[in-house]
Symmetry: C2
Subunit: 253 residues, 2 copies
DNA sequence: GAGGTCAGGTTGTCATTACAACTGGTTTTG
DNA sequence: CAAAACCAGTTGTAATGACAACCTGACCTC
């Protein structure tokens, strides 16, 4: 069955600097999320899509590959491309908690607990690729949403970023947005998620009983050029926070 | 600088059923992991690689795209492709704990606590896409590694898989391997990672103090065809377990 | 010396073409 | 009637060609 009707409207703009394959991927994604392409239905086949949109099949394939990598569709050799059923769809994005909350309409606020330069702690030095004894930027923030504390975040950054990341800016926006504005393009992060009991200070700040379970995340972020940009060690009250992610097995293309 | 010397040996086998781009991706990956391609160095440029290996540039690009998606290399427009520094490299694979442990030489063992069919619990029904009131396969396992309990795993599966997943098999191998052997190809999972305190029964089984922090994971897995295959609800002692993952920002290609 | 300009090299995008491999249903065959 | 063979439809792999966009470093100008 042809499920691609709503797409002929999705005109592709050949003059736009946005690549055609990406324009198509986005219009397919909105079609899926809006329900115009219903769960489990077939996409039109690749040749048909190419014909309809007057683009080549490789371009169509590349657009579909983007969706497949995000887990929105599943390709089946000899069968076709299917829209993934129900409403999974939760990427572990390389994004900031601040933006995620703002997007969800939660009006996040930030309380600065520390902002200083310190000698780099041992376990941070190797991660940040700075020499031992060097000084780094350190700050600690308490993130609130809807009046409730939701995260206690400690970060270490190379001193070279001190111009981009200032105390005032951090009060009003997320770290990742600041970095982006400063021309730092994050590309990769490695993170570790664990749990432990709240220490007294953490418990008090997060307004949970001492000893109650916390989610912990340690993250090291790298930019375009492979430089390490940030070391973060964050804790979240377990009853107010969890990590959602979808995992796709290698589909390559 | 040309860092692709070790690759001319990496002969590509055109008669193999393994795609050329994938053969190349793998030989590049081993070259990187073995250190033959050192951190931060440039890969030979795409045209050069294509010439050396007698394949087309799109095929080279596709191979590099695989590595970029895994976060092993970073492409920079106008610059080249760089090998990612240091030793991050930890995918959240769609794999089983059993295999991961076995791979790490931990000799995992499994203790079956339950294996039965039960009426499907409400919150499982919607996830597994079975009608309410239907019966499903349910089992609970305690996974040990090096003599210590490391995970308490509760799973629900559609009854149709009862032939593939038997009690005896589960004692000796992981669920995912069983499914694969049964012709089920997992493609996608959505999971949620959180934390909470250990209940008395959990604490006893996992040999931790009651009330101590546990990592929790809830996972729903889907196969090729988009059918939901498994609902899993697992808990891990926080001091013996954590999730490692690397996150790559959309690099599309 | 500081700044702008330009050229060369690199990855990014896209079209076109061809064939291989897989799936599911239909037809043929035993 | 059942099993095998075939066929149409679909995605997978690969080559070739062309041009655009981008970055760096060298050169030139002021």
């Amino acid at each position: 069955m042809g499920a691609g009707r709503g797409l002929r409207d999705a005109v592709l703009d050949r003059t736009s600097p946005v690549p055609l394959y990406y324009q198509l991927a986005q219009s397919l994604e909105t079609a899926i999320r809006s329900g115009r392409l219903s769960s489990g239905s077939h996409l039109d086949n690749e040749l048909e899509l190419a014909r309809q949109l007057r683009i080549s099949r490789p371009t169509v394939r590349r657009a579909i590959a983007v969706l497949a990598n995000r887990g929105l569709v599943i390709r089946r050799h000899g069968i076709g491309t299917l829209v993934v059923p129900v409403k999974i769809r939760r990427p572990v994005r390389l994004s900031s908690l601040y933006d995620d909350l703002a997007e969800a309409g939660q009006a996040p606020t930030t309380r600065m607990l520390a902002f200083e330069t310190v000698p780099v702690p041992a376990e941070v030095a190797s991660s940040l690729q700075v020499s031992r004894g060097a000084r780094v930027l350190h700050f600690e923030r308490l993130r609130m949403a809807s009046g409730q504390p939701i995260a206690l975040m400690r970060n270490f950054l190379p001193l070279s970023l001190a111009e981009i990341v200032t105390e005032g800016d951090l009060r009003n926006t997320g770290l990742y947005r600041l970095l982006q504005r400063g021309g730092i393009h994050l590309r990769l992060a490695s993170q570790s998620i664990g749990a432990r009991s709240a220490q007294p200070r953490e418990a008090k700040l997060l307004k949970v009983p001492s000893g109650s379970p916390l989610l912990t995340m340690r993250r090291i972020s790298y930019d375009d050029a492979g430089r390490s940009v940030e070391y973060g060690s964050h804790v979240y009250p377990a009853d107010r926070y969890s990590f959602e992610m979808s995992v796709v097995s290698d589909s390559t293309t």
